[in-house]
Structures are given as C-alpha cells and as structure tokens.
C-alpha cells in the first residue's frame, strides 16, 4: 500500500480550522431555531428545577442540623478518650490537661453530665444532671430563652433548673426542693437537696422529661469530681468554621488522652436521616435528568440524521471524520452548556432570595418546629457547588449523548450518504 504524499504551504500554528467549526456548529444550531430553543429551554428548566430543589433540600437540612447542634450538642465536643462509648464519670477529665492556648483560642463550653435518681414525695425518676457554666451555655445554646418560670442560673448559685416535663412528672414547682441521689466519681455516694430556681422547656421530649441543670460548681460538688468535666462543647459561629476548628483540635489535643467528635459523629441518626432524604431527592433529580436526556437525544438524533446528505458531501470534499465529529460534539455541548448556564443564571437570584428571605412556617407546622427548638422557616442553601453540579451533570449527559453522532459519522459512507 502506498501512502499519499502531499505537500502544503507551511502555515502558522495558530491557524486552526477548529475555530471555523465552532462557528459552523453555532450557526448549525440556529438552522432550526424553534427546535434549538425548545431543547435549550428543556435543559434550562431542568437545571433551574434541580438547582432550586437541591438548594431547598440542602438548606432545610442544614438549618435543621444547625438548630439541633446549637440546641445542645455543639458543632464538636471534646471528651476523655472512651467517654462516648461509656458515658460515666470515670471517663471525665481534668480541664487543666487541655492546652491553655486552646482554651484562649476557642470558645469552649464546659459540662459535667451524669445520671441520678430524682425524687419528690413518693415519686422517683431517673434524670440527666448537667452541670454548666450558665453564661457560656447561654451564649452557645440560648438556654435562658427556654426559661418558662423562675430565675436563670448563676455560676455560684445553689438553685437548679428543671425541665418542665420532669417537673410535671414529679409534681414540682419553682421554689420546691428536688432530691437527687446518685453514684459520684470513683464510687462515692452522691446525694443532695436543691431548691428549684426555674423551669425550662425543651421541645425534644427526651430532654424535657429528664433534664436537671445546675451550675458547674454545684454539679462538681454533688458528684465529687473536683475540677473534672465530662465534655467541652466547642462553640463555633457556623459549620463552615468546623473543618479548621477540627484541624486545630486534633493538632493540639493528645490523641491518646482525648477524643474530638464533630456533630456528625455525635448524632449519626440525624445525619443518616439526612442522607436517606438526600438519596430520595437524588432519585427524583436523576429521573428528571433522564427525561431531559431523552429529549436532548431526540434533538441530536434529528440534527444528525437530517444532515446525512450534507455529511456525505462534506466527507466527499475532504472533511475528516474527526472534524465532523468535533462539530457535532460542539453542537451537542452548546445546547447543554447554553441551557445550563441560563438555568444557573436564573436560579441564582431565586435561590439567593429564598436564602435571605426564608419561607416562614405558620400554624401547627411552626409549633412543631418551635417545640424542637428549630426556627420555623424553610430556607435554601446558597452554595455555588449546587449550581456547578448541575452544569457538570448536564455536560456529562451531553457528552454521553454525543456518542451517537460520533458512531454515526464514524460509519458514514459518503456515496451511500449522498444517495439519501
């Protein structure tokens, strides 16, 4: 077999024909304006719908998780190693062993948590006793705002706060005395009688039926722990600050002494519920993309088949197959990209508006949210990642669909094509 030897005039490297084919691809799109507009519109609405739905879904969950985190847990907690698996006072720690630099660098909310038996009259209940720094706790969880009766705690005070549900079970009122009995640190007896300074209300029934809150010195005295704590909750302005905070915590705290847990580890069931819900939403979005994919494929199929004769002529006069394939890829991607960009441009202000002006819930739904300490609003998350993901998915679909014209051109025979 002999090779064709041809000599062309040398040309500068920048004179690439691809530019011409991009222009050609763009013009080809507008040969059938109505069809192109419908195809671009379908991509636009899919991206708009997907962006808004994804932003709502992410925003609602983030809002819920953030509220739950701020409600009690905090974005992260520091414990003695092994505390989370065995939550006893024997796994408490001396805060002096936490580097001073860390304490000044971060806002840490100290807690001493354990269980006790509470009795009033003939009634006895198991309760969760939490010793807190009243000011720091209020800064982080806005505990004072849950006060329904009486006075909030003072660091050196001798009164306690009782959750409303528990007070009701024990028939207690403000100024009554609560008797607590428990096992203290290192097996010592813990017993005390504490005047009730106020009542607090928690939306979460578990907390509302078992929580007794007292100033940290009082709790230390009750359990006999000295200066020890069971946890330090890390108070952060938002979840964005978490990765950096975790990095600092893990760096500064000795790994063999402390465990650092973020909110995902502290409440895995909530995160799992979010993931499950997200998976459901993804299924809906992928169904939408599938429909859009079929719509786009119809357009691409027509765009390719109706120009069979033209492709035959172009191949006959010397247009390489890879050039034609590149042109058809450009046409397919242009529809996808133009639709995606327009969809993103329209969805950005909508998502932004719903982010800064959330939808306020009313009626029973609002009450249910409030009971759980969650602000009764539905808001969108405004994250560029959500929009870029739509563009990425559409590009991926377009590339997948462009396989058809690639296959078609690759197998094109000019003589046969020109007979059509």
């Amino acid at each position: 077999m002999r090779n064709v030897t041809l000599h062309l005039t040398p040309h500068p490297f920048f004179l690439i024909p691809e530019k011409m084919f991009l222009k050609l691809a763009w013009r080809n799109l507008w040969r059938n304006k109505r069809r192109t507009i419908i195809s671009i519109s379908s991509v636009l609405f899919a991206v708009l719908f997907a962006s808004v739905i994804s932003s709502f879904q992410k925003g609602t969950w983030d809002h819920m998780v953030d509220n739950v985190v701020r409600y009690y847990l905090g974005y992260a907690q520091i414990h003695q190693n092994g505390f989370w698996d065995d939550q006893s006072l024997e796994n408490s720690f001396d805060p002096q062993s936490v580097p001073a630099s860390l304490q000044s660098e971060m806002q840490l909310t100290p807690r001493l948590e354990s269980f006790a038996l509470a009795s009033s009259g003939e009634v006895t209940r198991g309760v969760l006793v939490v010793g807190i720094d009243p000011e720091k706790e209020d800064e982080m969880t806005r505990l004072k705002s849950r006060l329904t009766q009486g006075q909030y705690l003072e660091m050196n005070g001798s009164t306690v706060l009782v959750a409303e549900g528990l007070a009701s079970l024990l028939n207690l009122k403000v100024a009554d005395t609560l008797i607590l009995v428990s096992q203290g640190y290192q097996g010592r007896n813990a017993a005390g009688a504490y005047p009730i300074g106020g009542m607090v209300k928690f939306g979460a029934p578990d907390l509302n039926k078992q929580l007794v809150i007292m100033p940290l010195p009082l709790a230390r005295d009750f359990y006999g722990t000295g200066e020890r704590l069971t946890s330090l909750a890390v108070n952060l302005p938002g979840r964005d600050a978490l990765p950096e905070a975790l990095q600092v915590l893990n760096k500064e705290l000795p790994a063999d002494e402390f465990e650092v847990m973020d909110f995902k580890k502290l409440m895995p069931e909530l995160i799992e519920a979010q993931e499950l819900d997200t998976a459901g939403a993804k299924l809906i979005l992928w169904t939408l993309y599938l429909l859009i994919g079929f719509g786009l494929f119809g357009t691409i199929l027509m765009m390719t088949r109706e120009r069979t004769y033209e492709f035959g002529v172009l191949t006959a006069i010397g247009t390489k197959r890879k050039t034609l394939i590149g042109m058809l890829w450009s046409e397919t991607l242009m529809i996808g990209i133009v639709g995606a960009v327009l969809g993103i441009l329209i969805s950005i202000p909508i998502v932004w508006y719903l982010h800064v002006s959330p939808i306020e819930l009313t009626g029973n739904m609002a009450k249910a949210y409030e009971n759980y300490g969650i602000e009764p609003v539905i808001k969108t998350a405004f994250e560029m990642g959500i929009f870029l993901k739509q563009a990425w998915v559409i590009s991926l679909i377009s590339c997948g669909l462009a396989i058809y014209p690639t296959w078609y051109i690759w197998n094109l025979k000019p003589v046969k094509a020109m007979r059509e």
Binding site: V4, L15, L24, V313, L314, A316, I317, K320, V415
Partner: protein, 228 residues
C-alpha cells in the same frame, strides 16, 4: 501527462447475492487539460466510474491511478485526505453549506488544508471574480439562484487548486441561461488556466461543448469521441 488512468476497471455490486456488474473492464485515460464528458443512459455505470475516479468508492478489480497515485488500496482516511488535496467536486444539487456565506463556502476546503488567511482571502477573491460573484461574497446560499449556487460550488472545487474537477450532472437542475453561463465559466477556466474537467452527464448542452465524449454502455466503454 495522465491525470486519470483506469485499467480493466471492474465493479460488481452484491457479489455474494445478486451480482450487478456496474463496470466491466473499463480502460480510460484522461490527460491534463481535458474537458471530457462521460455519458450514457441510466444504469450504464457512469456514476460508479465517477465515484471510483473520485475515491468515493473502490473498484472490485483493476487499477485506478489518479495524478500518479494508485488509490484503490488507500484507507478511508487516506482517501479523505486525497480527495481534499487532489480532487474538486461539483455535485448535481449545489451542496453548499447553508450556514456559511459564499466566501466562507469557497474557502472551506482551504480551511481544511489549514492554508494561511492571506492566501485564502486572495484565492477566494480571484475565484469569485472569475465566476462573477464578487458582489455576493457575504450572502448565504439560500439568497442565490440555482445557477449562482452552482458557480459557487465550482469556485469551492477550484479553491485548493486540485488536479482536476469531477462534476456529476452539474447542469441537471439549471435553466438554459444558467447552464450556459456555468459552462462558459468552466470552458474559460479550462481554456485559460488549463484546468481539467470530467463531467458525468446526459445533458446535451454539456455534451455539445465537451472536447471529448466517452459513452458508457452496460458498464463498458462504447465510444470515445474527440470533438472540435
């Protein structure tokens, strides 16, 4: 010098089922500067012959040499390259790219060849001048008459300075005036610039003006007449 040399060219369609002998041992030589018409009734094999000469189809047997190159054994991609550089095509139904202007259609093959812009612009201006369409260079094919479109197709075919022009029924869709005008231009290019033209046609207007008329009958050369 021979531009086209065909020896014992045979083409059989459906060899394994119902064989159709489209060409049966065609010997044909076309020299540089000829103005040749290949004629014959439908089914005589003239389109098959033109397709094989143009590297669009392969013979079942025989040798086909174009501008000194044996092309029957070239791969599909090599044939595309070969056609781009050596052959100018003019088809029956104009076949211009509808979204490109007259000038862009004319420079199209030169763009494929990555020729410099200055060279392309100069050549396009010359060619549009020679086919009388300089003033229409920025309009799209849909704004031209059939005859004008065919003149653009001739300009496009000539642009890369091919070894010869293959024209398949170039006047079939044209009225008398347009056909005459197109043939005038082709004759002038042949006469003044020595461009080789090979037509497949059964249009008497073309046959009358051809310098050589090769008649195909049942896949064989019937007559080969030089006209004056």
């Amino acid at each position: 010098m021979s531009v086209i040399e065909a020896k014992n060219l045979t083409k059989v369609y459906n060899p394994d089922t119902v064989p159709v002998n489209a060409l049966q041992g065609v010997d044909l030589t076309i020299e540089k500067g000829e103005f040749t018409a290949i004629v014959g009734p439908s089914g005589s094999g003239k389109t098959t012959l033109l397709n094989i000469i143009g590297g669009l189809d392969r013979p079942s047997d025989g040798v086909i040499r174009v501008d000194g190159e044996e092309i029957a054994n070239l791969t599909d991609n090599q044939l595309i390259d070969f056609r781009q550089k050596k052959i100018g095509f003019v088809f029956q139904s104009y076949n211009l790219i509808p979204v490109l202007t007259v000038a862009e259609n004319t420079e199209f093959v030169m763009l494929l060849q990555k020729r410099p812009k200055a060279e392309r612009d100069k050549r396009v201006a010359e060619l549009l001048e020679s086919v009388g369409l300089s003033e229409k260079k920025n309009v799209r094919p849909s704004q031209l008459s059939g005859g004008q479109q065919q003149r653009v197709a001739v300009a496009r075919a000539l642009a890369p300075k091919p070894a010869f022009i293959l024209a398949d029924e170039p006047t079939a869709n044209l009225d008398s005036a347009s056909a005459s005008n197109l043939l005038d231009i082709m004759e002038k290019l042949n006469r003044e610039e020595g461009i080789t033209f090979v037509f497949s046609t059964h249009d008497s207007r073309v046959i009358d003006r051809a310098k050589r008329v090769v008649t195909l009958v049942d896949g064989k050369i019937g007559t080969d007449v030089v006209q004056h």
